[in-house]
């Protein structure tokens, strides 16, 4: 019941945002050309902006309603006491520096007048009647600085909404921490963000570092802030960005989706006084390798000459160990020849191998002691300067060396999944019933005065999680809402992008919720990391009216306390294959196996690199390493879990058949996938237009579940149109549709959505993942394939990005690197793999979940039980008790 209700709400919300998007579309389309998209941060030209707004006001009533921001100062004649017109008071072009603001300054809620950043100039100077070109003549004399260390661990970091924050842990070496450091932040924001009241706050390790007005709608702006000494520490540093944004004109909930800011990775980072700090030279400083301007950590294996299978064994194992030890947020492995040049930021050079391998790769290979594993940074001219050497006399000793590297990272807490280098703090990990407080998940107590509040936290689940159909979690919410909040405001819980639960705020005069139970069905939870967020949308009367200056009023409306808890109930635990979620999320069943993982691939550089990238990502997912065997004996393949990686044309047809993919010849790959316009190509990220609608929701929409042929959607649409007219059959169809969507029962009988014909990936696929079983055993085979080895290697870097990686589930999935689109195919024939002892309580939970999935079976079993019960009862009753009493 709750689910159907949730779906209803979900669809209305989607409809609402679609509508909003549609309204904005013409505006956006017309406004876009006005901006110089290639501009990487130099001040935008006011002259170019002006037509854009003219176009907008031509755009009709909808556009008109959004534009008064530009009229406020002109027509309404505000006194400018509280809000000073920035354009008038700001020393245009003066560099904005934050010098050691104390905590008092941090808590000062008063809007700071006259914020002006380099490049911040345009909109308010376009007062009617003034020559607009005047502002354009103030270029930023200094120009943007290039950071010595990039810090943003994702390709594109974007904060959306009225009150958002994001934290992650960046590691610094002792040397780095000792130097005076300046923080650079390059960002762009939506034009709707009102700079007078919108602030970005940066804290490091909980200490205030900077507060910046968000006022860079014209193009990327870089602001600088000196980090007070003593704030940075050697080791992990929690960097936290908090955005408070206010809409210029609009008070609607929809308008909050227009508020965003996006960071320019290349302009954001740390500048150390005295130039870049040398590359880390200690193994313990591996995490301080950091990221490059795309948020990636490149692990470069220096390996001249052909790759033998024992090389790939070592590379695949070393990649795992390095990823774990370095706690890299997104490691991408490449294999290069000698003389790769000095390592740019976020790059680690590695040489791994036997003494002769080291000799091939290095000018002065370090001596290797007998029976001693070698794990050391050395400086070698041939190997690109500072290089990490993993060596040993035999393959066994190398494994020991790598093992030593990996075990150094053995993280202490089994109840956490280490993800803090992307999203701090680490995710709680549930293997059964348990609870975690919001404070432990980084959700702080906050009072909120806006319209839409989103609190996000990740939840880790084991590979053998099997509770999606009947399991339940609860959120015990400590919160309160003000009397001004209208009943009917909603609190929704989303899991992995799907609405899981909705709770209506119904009290007329505000309400205090103490440990209010919000039930969250586990329907959308999967093995591995799950993204959960609570979204509170607050309806307030004053927002309905939205009089002048309404968005300026900052009256607290909602508060959530960090004493709230997320409580997981017990869930069934049994592994199931094929199930890509468990593979992706926890490396299941490969990492759980005691055998080395059999990886079958061609030993060429792109394939091995792609395989190593995948293994590194899997090791991070599993939080451990596994031995790899890249030349397994063919006979053993039928009975052990195998990972097939490579270009589709070199995958044996029977492997394709086993994993449910059509024959390679039938796949219509595009000859050359269109180059992705994003991070993977190494180009500067392209900015969204400040007018554009947010991408967060569309990112979720990028997953679609499809049938083997992909024809079902088209068929449904045609059926709708064809039968739409006729009376009875349409009614039956509608009923069937309603029944299915409401109760998840298909009248056709089968409860599972998968289908049996082989999967034919769409032409634009970059990476195909599919799982099946070995022909005559229950051993799991997984295929990771691309069109060619090179295209696979190129796409795998994006594919392993958690943003996409975590969306993979089902039996097969394809990833389109150009669009980020993920197509899922549901599994049909799934088999259980026992992972935990099948105790009575676990069996009960498994049965409950299975019966919830197979609801028709459940109904039949129930009816059968009733009949048996009735028969037995009547037989028993027929035996008269003796003597009649």
């Amino acid at each position: 019941m709750r689910i159907s209700q949730s779906r209803l709400f979900g669809s209305t919300r989607v409809a609402a945002s679609l509508l909003a998007a549609l309204l904005l579309l013409p505006v956006e389309a017309m406004a876009q050309p006005a901006f110089n998209l290639g501009d990487d941060g130099a001040g935008p030209v006011g002259a170019v902006v002006a037509p854009a707004f003219e176009t907008r006001s031509d755009g009709g009533a909808a556009a008109d309603a959004r534009s008064p921001a530009f009229d406020i100062h002109g027509r309404m004649g505000w006194s400018g006491d509280a809000v000073t017109t920035p354009a008038k008071t700001a020393p245009a072009g003066a560099p904005f520096t934050m010098t050691a603001p104390g905590p008092a300054g941090a808590s000062d809620p008063k809007p700071q007048p006259g914020p002006a950043a380099p490049g911040y100039a345009a909109p308010f100077q376009m007062l009617p009647g003034q020559p607009i070109a005047a502002a354009a003549a103030k270029p930023d004399a200094a120009g943007p600085m290039v950071p010595d260390r990039f810090i943003i661990p994702v390709p594109r970091l974007r904060l959306e909404g009225e009150s958002v924050s994001r934290g992650w842990v960046t590691y610094f070496t002792q040397q780095e921490a000792e130097r005076p450091v300046t923080l650079l932040i390059g960002y762009l924001n939506a034009i709707y963000v009102m700079p007078e009241l919108s602030r970005l706050r940066v804290t490091i390790n909980g200490q205030f570092v900077a507060e910046v007005p968000i006022a860079s709608a014209q193009g990327p702006t870089q602001v600088k802030a000196a980090i007070p000494t003593g704030v940075l520490r050697a080791g992990g540093n929690l960097i936290r960005l908090e955005m408070r944004a206010v809409h210029r004109t609009d008070c609607s909930i929809e308008s909050t989706y227009d508020l965003w800011m996006e960071f320019d990775n290349a302009l954001t980072g740390m500048v150390f006084e005295g130039g870049p700090v040398p590359h880390p030279t200690m193994v313990d400083d591996l995490p301080a390798i950091g990221v490059d301007a795309q948020g990636t950590t490149n692990i470069r294996f220096i390996h001249p000459g052909p790759i033998e299978s024992h090389h790939s064994d070592q590379i695949l194992l070393a990649a795992q160990a390095l990823a774990l030890r370095g706690r890299f947020s997104h490691p991408v492995v490449s294999i290069v020849g000698t003389d790769p040049g000095p390592a740019p930021p976020g790059t680690l050079n590695v040489v791994v191998g036997l003494p002769q391998d080291l000799r091939n790769a290095m000018a002065f290979p370090p001596p290797i002691a007998t029976n001693q594993p070698l794990v050391r940074f050395v400086n070698d001219s041939r190997a690109g300067g500072t290089v990490l050497v993993l060596g040993g006399e035999t393959a066994g000793i190398i494994e020991a060396a790598i093992d030593r590297l990996a075990t150094g990272s053995a993280h202490s807490d089994d109840n956490k999944v280490a993800i803090s280098s992307r999203f701090a703090p680490d995710a709680p990990f549930f293997t059964g019933a348990g609870s975690v407080r919001f404070s432990e998940m980084g959700v702080t107590t906050q009072e909120f005065s806006g319209r839409r509040l989103r609190l996000r936290f990740p939840i880790g689940l084991p590979a053998d999680f099997y509770g999606a159909a009947n399991g339940q979690a609860r959120i015990l919410l400590d919160a309160a809402y003000a009397p001004s909040v209208r009943p009917g405001s909603q609190l929704s819980v989303y899991v992995n992008g799907s609405l899981a639960s909705a709770y209506m705020l119904t009290e007329r005069h505000g309400g205090l919720m103490e440990r209010k139970v919000i039930k969250v069905p586990l329907t959308h939870f999967r093995a591995g990391i799950n993204r959960v967020w609570i979204e509170v949308t607050l309806d307030v009367d004053s927002d309905e009216v939205c009089g002048p200056g309404a968005t300026l009023v900052r009256q607290q409306r909602f508060v959530v306390f960090d004493s709230s808890e997320f409580v997981m109930d017990n869930f069934a635990r049994i592994g199931r294959s094929p199930g890509l979620a468990a593979f992706i999320g926890r490396g299941f069943p490969y990492f759980q196996s005691t055998q080395p993982v059999a990886v079958v691939m061609r030993q060429d550089i792109p394939t091995v690199a792609a395989a190593a990238t995948v293994m590194a990502r899997l090791a991070l997912s599993y939080e451990g390493t596994t031995l790899v065997e890249t030349a397994p004996s063919p006979a053993s393949l039928a009975s052990r879990p195998v990972l097939f990686i490579g270009d589709i044309n070199h995958i044996p047809p029977d492997v394709l058949r086993q994993v449910g993919v059509v024959d390679a010849s039938k796949i219509r790959w595009l000859a050359a996938p269109p180059p992705r316009d994003g991070a993977s190509q190494g180009a500067a990220p392209t900015w969204d237009s400040p007018l554009s609608t947010p991408s967060d929701a569309s990112l979720e929409a990028n997953v679609r579940v499809r049938s083997a042929s992909g024809n079902n959607d088209i068929l449904d649409r045609w059926r709708d149109e064809v039968t739409g007219e006729s009376g009875l059959s349409a009614a039956i169809l509608r009923f069937e549709r309603w029944f299915k969507s409401t109760y998840g029962i298909s009248l056709g009988g089968s409860g599972d959505e998968g289908d049996s014909e082989p999967f034919n990936p769409p032409p634009n696929s970059s990476v195909l993942v599919a799982q099946g079983f070995a022909p005559s055993s229950n051993a799991v085979w997984t295929l990771i394939a691309g069109h060619t080895a090179d295209s696979l290697d190129a796409a795998i870097g994006d594919f392993t990005l958690p943003e996409y990686w975590l969306k993979i589930y089902g039996q097969a999935a394809v990833f389109d690197a150009a669009t980020g689109q993920v197509d899922i195919r549901m599994a049909r024939d799934r088999r259980f793999i026992v992972t935990e002892p099948l105790g009575p309580s676990n069996l009960r939970l498994i049965a409950a979940n299975w019966l919830s999935l197979n609801i028709v079976t459940y109904a039949l079993v129930l009816v059968l039980c009733c009949i048996v019960f009735a028969v037995v009862t009547s037989l028993l009753l027929r035996r008269r008790p003796k003597g009649g009493g």
Binding site: M1, R2, S4, Q5, P487, G488, M504, T506, E507, R508, E514, R515, K516, V517, T873, S874, L877, R878, P881, G883, G884, G885
Partner: protein, 651 residues
Amino acid sequence: MEELANFIPALLLYGAEMYSVALMGLSLFVVSSPQPPRTAPVIASGREPTVDIFVPSYNEDAGLLATTLAAASAIDYPRDRFTVWLLDDGGTDQKCEQHDLPAAREAQMRRETLTELCRELGVNYLTRPRNEYAKAGNLNHGLAHSSGELIVVFDADHAPARSFLRETIGYFNEDPRLFLVQTPHFFINPDPVERSLDTWRRMPSENEMFYGVIQRGLDRWGGAFFCGSAAVLRREALRETDGFAHSSITEDCETALTLHARGWHSVYVDTPLIAGLQPETFASFIGQRSRWAQGMYQILRFHFPLFRSGLTMAQRICYMSSILFWFFPISRAIFLVSPFFYLFFSLEIFNGSGAEFVAYTAVYLLINLFIQSYLYGKYRWPWFSELYEYIQTVYLLPALLSVMINPKKPTFKVTSKGETIDENRISEIGLPFFVIFVIQIIAVFVTFWRIATEPYSADITIVVGMWNLLNLIISGCALGVVSERAAKRHSQRMAITRRCSLLIDGVEVPAVIENVSMGGVRIRTELPADAKARVGMHAVVRVTPPDACISDTLPILVRKVALSEGAVVLGAQFNAKCAAHYQLIADLIFANADEWKKFQAGRRNNPGVLRGTVMFVMIAGFQTLRGLAYVTQLEKLTRRFAPGLFARAPR
């Protein structure tokens, strides 16, 4: 957990729901396989056990007692093998010598009258020094002064059919450990609900569900219990327990429980063998039910059947089922007020959406209705259980709570029977029903108001509103129940056909008695031209008398004369002068129990859930209007200007 204000009512509601579910489970067990009809074992001639027939009385008038005693004396059994005892508690020494002189005189008069009556009827009159332990004490006094192997108990208004002993005694010869043969109580007058709702002739009486299904179900598990009257007991068994138990005010059930626990057996015979009277007014009906509810609670408290050693598991469940049933006032009250908590105070005692309600509660309700219809459909129409429970709840709840606080306090109060209602009126205890009704009407308006002003919680409001509406329908029907119609006679007429001769206006003509009630007869006859029947005329009916009767004539008083198809139909009132006349009346009414059975069978039709529901809603609608008409005095106006508008319920 959450707020206390929400939590407590929610917990109560949860408890009430669990109680309903549990009770339903117990009931299903009890009625899972009702005992099929038994055939009475034949008593070998000469081996008839000696029987003492006790008719305990407290304040019933002589006429009523005369009928019962006459019927008891006329029982078909060797005259020397049974003795009828009138156990009079209204003429005890204590009563005759009390300080209230008029009352003392009345008691002395009563003793004299009854002694004379008993002498005429050949019945033993027995009274005792003090009124100790009420009915149980009275019966035990009777036990002490008699010696029959078997004891039969008839309430003062329970006149037995002639076949009573033949149908019951045989079982005692078959099973030496048998202590009880219970027969159903068949009533020849409607209870207040039946009379107000005018359903007596077409709907099974309330107690038929108990005697038609539940006692048979209990009997199947060896747990049929003593219902105070119309039963045969074994003296040997009673001797083990020093007579009838008296720690509770329902001595009957308690006695049965004690003896069951000692390994004695019981039998239930599903044939109406006595005809009695039910309480006439709503107030006395409530009084009777309060006694049962309190007594049952006392048994639970003093004996707790679930852990009582000596009982079989099935018997424990049976007794628990019978006793726990009487907790219905608590759960009913909770179901009644719960919607108010939500509608008036917005307490969130329901945690669920409208859809969840439909999925769980509505399905439960429907299934419950279907199961009830399947199991009891012939004996109880849909929703009437709810009506009966509701009308009792208002008064039984305080009674139950008081006995829970002070279990020893309640004392035996005799249910008054044979009262008459002279004019249409609201029952003296009817006010609360109108108050509740008004609150519910307000709640209906609040429902609409909240749906309009709080559309976000409309689904729950609608659900709660529907719930309140259901309560309202029942509550409206109860308004009709407490608006009591005037009733001219105690008992309804039973159709019989009996030849007689009528002496009227100086001639004797053959006639046929068409029906008979406790008060009179209807006679069809053809009069010669010279004879005239007039209202107020005295006449005499001559019938074939029963064996022991010394008279064959019965004086009557003509009350109504009608002509139909050339025949004269007289409505006449009995004008009994002596005991022999009562014997004749008893013979007319009680000679043949088959008539009762036929009458009951005629009412036992299962209308089905849907039709039954529609009928109930129609009845409820009509009764609501009637109740409102009574309370607003409109009824008196309509009686003047549109007579008959509220006289009959819709069919």
